[in-house]
Amino acid sequence: MATPPLPQPAVAKKSPERLIVAIEDVNDLWESIRGNLEARVPFKKASLNNKARNLVLVDKLVVEFVQTTDARLRRGLPGEQSLLSYGFRRPYAWLIVVTCDDLDEYKNLLKPRLKTIVQAEDHEWFIVFVSKATTDSAVKISKRVYSRIEGDFSSKKRERCCKVDLHGPDTSVWEEIELKIVECIRYSLDRRVQYYEEEVRKLSENRFMPAWNFCNFFTVKESLAFMFEMANLREDALREYDELEQIYSETVNAPHANTSAFGGLDAGDDCAALLDGTRKPVSQFAADGTVREFDFRQYLFSRQASLLFNLLRPAEVSGRGHSFIILFAKILTQHEKDLPFCMREIWVITACLALVKATSRRFSAAIVTPDTVKDFYRLQGDLYSYARTKLMRLADLIGYGHNIETSPCNSAALSMLPWPRPAVWPALPPDISRVQAKEQISPPKLSEGLGRLRKQLSLSPTVLLREANRRRASLSVGNLAEMLDLSRLSLKESPAADAADSAPAPLPPSTLPDEPISGAHSSSPEVLQKQNSIEPPMKLPEVQAAAEHALLTSISDETLRMALSSVEGFEDFFLELTRAAADNFHRSWRKRHGVVLDGEVAAVHYRRGALDAAAKLYEKVCALYGSEGWHALLVQVLPRLSECQKKLSDWAGYLSSCIKLLSLDPGPISNEDRSSIQAEIVKLAHGGLPVPVSLDVSTLITFAARGGPPLELCEGDPGTLMVTVWSGFPDDIIMDSLSLTLVTTFTADEGTKVVKSVDAPVLQPGKNRVLMTLPPQKPGSYVLGVLTGHIGQVKLRSHTYCTTSAASSKGGPPDSDDYLSNEKPLRTVLEVAKPRALVEIKPAITKGLLFGEPQWVGLIVRPLNYSLEGARVHISTGPNLQFLSDQTALLEVSKPLLAEANAPSSTDIDGMKTFHNMLENGDSLNTDDNVNGILDYDTDMPQHLLMKDGSVELPDWARMVASVLWVQVKADSDDTLCSHFSGDPHLSSPPPSPKKVPLMSPDSQIKGLTTASSANGPHATADSLHESLQHGTTGQGHVLPNGSLVSRFGMKTLKVKMEFGVSRSRLYERTIALQFTHPFRISTRIVSRGNDGRFLLQITLNSQLAAAVTIQSANLLLQPGFAHVNNHEGHPTPAWLLPLSVSASSECALLFAIRSDPVTAKDGDSDHRSGSGAGHQRQVSCLNIHYKVSGNHEAGVQAPVTDSVANSESYLKFSSSFHLKMPVLEQLVAVGMLPVPSQCPRVGQQVVFQWRVERLKEGWAASQQQESTEKTFLPRAHSDQGSEDLYYELKANEEYWMIAGRRKGFISLPQSVGSRIVLSMACVPLVAGHVHPPALRLVNIGRAHVSRSPAGPHLVCILPPAPCSALCIRKII
């Protein structure tokens, strides 16, 4: 392939971006169409094939039209080398511009010439026929010529002609030409790419041949890349460079690679050229035949970068650049010995800055994704911080190390970064002033105040002095001693030595001389000669001065030299880099990096006195470290912050910082320092603070309520709350006051209460117990809120939920783990109950108490979950109840049995359980002071308590358990004479026997009735008595108008008052009803009656007690008129029956044989009539019983209280009186109502009732009643011979009956037995229904003597009145 080489490669290299289109201007027409063609450049719609043979639409394809007469196409030497190097620059298309207006001319002249041109070279061409015709004939001719040209040069496959009509209106032809040009370019490109690829393949195959030269390969490969770049196929170009780089790395790192010169020794090489590919002529590589790695790598990167920039991917440049710089720095390290002093550091700094500058200029956040933006800024930050690190290294080297903060960040960066290792350390500068200046640099003062807490970290990997002297040729053994002295001296001067001082074991001196000696021995003789003489080892200032001198003379970058020439310059540059790095990190994901670098910025501010700015930045850093618990790092920053705050008089901030320092892990801060910090706080608090300061000490002081269930208080009760406070202060701290807020839960209103501690506490380090006084609280649940302590002007606040290292590291609460406690719900510490019953007092036994005997009355005092500590029970009695106000009461634990017997309730059992738990644990109560008192108490034995004035104090053990207080009372019987009641509503009375008229009536009834109905006279009394007997209502439930229920049924009252609660502020009052009773309720009846007037009297004894009663003896004293049959002196028959044991609530009966005794009856009658009080006793019979009650009061069984040992021989006496009456044995008259005549009487219809009165016994019926009724106003019965006038009375309800006739009157009845009379009475019923008929009564004959038939009242059915026919309406069904 004969291709003319392209001339002027250097020129072409500078403008490789354009594809060349050659113009073969045959007829000098180029200028006429040039404007039109060049206006279309760059081509918009060019489609080219990329390396993978895919059609790619290339926009903005730039082409350059060059005439073939142009010198650029003419010059150049032919040759294979140049074909490879420059072949790609040859024109990609040949445009042959022709015109012709004569066919002959075409045939003879133009056609051969065109043939020559077309066949001259192997290139893509096409012909543009320009027609300048204006006239029709000319147009016609030119058309003909053009068609001939088409015919000659175009083929079916490819159109190679195109016609431009200069004067024609058609402009679409230019587009056609453009397409043709692009087509030509495409063909050319494809062919050339193929050619080059073939070359590359060939070279690659031979890569491992010895004769292989990388330069050749590079030339071909780069040509390919250039070609792609020209064709705007930059991706392909980039790929070529990537491959090139890879192959280069392989070549260089190959084990047997010939080590050519590294390069980097030219002037200005220290300034990175990684973005400047034009600094070194690349053609030099080919010319020399060797590639200098230093230059070549930078060149490659610059090419890649420029392609990426053109691809609008500056972020990728950053990323690749960062890696490249790191990689290149490593390569520089490998060649450090051959390079100028500190070349690597300087190169990195300049490279980073150049890269940052170039990328940030081209970067636009708008066209990339947010992630890319962040990543870009991250890379910028990385680059800045890389440059910063290297700058610090240089600064440290030349003696500016004192101006670098010895922070962990800087230490991490520098202490692992080796010192420069040149072959020979630079020599001292000629002028001594630099050395003197370095000597004058004073080491930084040790920080005062809290700053001393910061650790001085090493910034250097090894001792610089040793490094420097090792690399000097002139050191000898003779200077060893001096060297040692100097190294010690300089150790103290270097920052590293500061750290070494504090380190426990400094370097042993013996290790020091080893390396210098070996270094000295290893020095080559040439170097020794160069140094000319053996010099003493350099001192540190000399080392620094030498380094500075070397650097300042070698650095070509102006900015960097300025920065390193003075401390201020360095600081400015350093600040710029740090700030830029921090800003970029803040814009990326790396907040921590950013904040830490902010801290470095703050350090510079601090050094320069801009405390305000420094404090703000330090706060950020502290917040970062503090929030994630990196205390070791925090200790490095916090003291500095506190110093700033102190100098700024930001006392709140300063104190807060002090508190934070104290709350850190104790490791980094010694105890002395902690104590001094505390002293500082206290000193400030007690003076020196202009305004009160509130501090959050949650990290230092934590608090919690006592474990276990919350303290329960009742509404209105004050109390004390034990709070455990953990103090993280190193020493005791005296608080002026300590208060705590209680926060209610579940209530929306206010909800915060402040409680204060009992006394001003002194908090010791670690666990403290503080007692808080609780004023009476509203009901609700409370949790602990904020603990506030006052020290002088300082208010310390702590929140309960903040449990931190302060607590945990000092033996704090076991559950104070950060995560656990955060998730834990707040624990209720105080429950204030709603108002409720707190105590209940009820009687243990309410009934079955014996009248007249001292009895134990039990009061069950049951606290309802409330402590009855110090409670006092006051008892007073109601009427007729005797009570010894000074006595010994018994107190015992309420037994479940007893509780069940009375009122089974679970609270009692709970109470017992609680009590027993208390006994066992002794600590479950809130205050354990008094628990010991109950431990030795025997629950089986009641405790004796002295009662004074009716009040008794409960002992401590009884404060939480239900207990029974037994006191003695004695009830007086309402009636000492007859203490028998038959009217107990709860007990059934035996049914009366109406037929057998009771011969006695209970005396008390008689008495009661007598007193009640004295105004009504004896008749009424007798009547009502009889009636009551008849109806079988023997006083059941009768409440008499003048007698109260209480006294009526033996009810007595006991008033119990209890003062309890805190300071006995609460009162419980209750009146307890006690029912007293007699041991027996008696009833009598005649069980058998003899003809001789003897009776067998049965006295039934119903035991009223809940205990077994033993009847020892019984004795019946009879009233006059009666006498015992056998003169047994009133003992029951049979006599062996006694003693008799009666079970509880059962009944027994005693039998007495008695007879009527007319002798005594008359006496009795006379006595009775006289109405004297003395004789009254004799009117009643009396049963005396001696008995004994077995059982005790606890079981609800009441034996009378005995003072000492119960005397088994002493018996109780019970006497009951009753009145015996002679039984009525004869009925004199019988009265019977005859059946009602009509079936059913109607209302308003007269009915005649008839009664028949018949005499049953001969004689005067009414006369027997004469005596008893003589005081009445009844008309006396008129009696004539043989017959008796009986007074009758008709009783009828006037609402029911209208009686037609005499209601009252006399009837005459003959005396003979069987005489009868019928009395008729017409009555008119007034109401319908079943009504009582009128009743006939014979007034002057005792009711008992009248036999009635029917015996009881019966009812008569009365129909409604007959309907009136006039008003009757027939209802049709």
Binding site: I326, S407, M416, L457, S458, K591, H593, A632
Partner: protein, 143 residues
């Protein structure tokens, strides 16, 4: 040489940090580990965003610096393991094996009933185990 091994809790609080360098300067490793958390977060969030490698615990190289390398590993409970080494070339398999063993040691330490989750690991046994793991780094683990 491994110069530092650290365990960081899921709240990014340091649980354990042991320096194996002999200059006594542990603080710088605190800094390095702390700052590497940025990178760990970045990697985790990026992979989550990309939806890939969700189950991969080994995070690879965190810091490509000139003088040392930082590698990371994150457990399912977001406990991070960070290792700083001055070796320039470490085999990926060695690193994975190292972290797996470190993770196992941590699990053992955290299973101690006396260890409070989220608190610093003070166990001497754990420290010893870590020391052994560091010592045997790079040596093929016995099968």
């Amino acid at each position: 040489m491994i110069v530092c091994v650290a365990v960081v809790g899921h709240n990014n609080n340091p649980l354990y940090l042991q320096s194996f360098s002999d200059d006594g300067n542990t603080l710088k490793f605190h800094y390095i580990v702390h700052c590497s958390l940025d990178v760990i977060e970045e990697k985790v969030s990026n992979s989550r965003r990309a939806g890939v490698n969700l189950n991969e615990t080994f995070l690879g190289l965190l810091y490509p610096t000139e003088d040392f390398k930082v590698f990371g590993y994150i457990s399912n409970t977001k406990v991070k393991f960070v290792m700083v080494t001055t070796d320039q070339d470490s085999r990926d398999a060695d690193l994975r094996n190292f972290f797996r063993r470190l993770h196992a040691a941590y699990v053992d330490a955290a299973s101690n009933p006396f260890h409070v989750p989220g608190k610093r690991i003070t166990s001497a046994v754990f420290a010893e185990q870590v020391g052994n793991i560091v010592k045997s780094f790079g040596i093929p683990a016995p099968v």
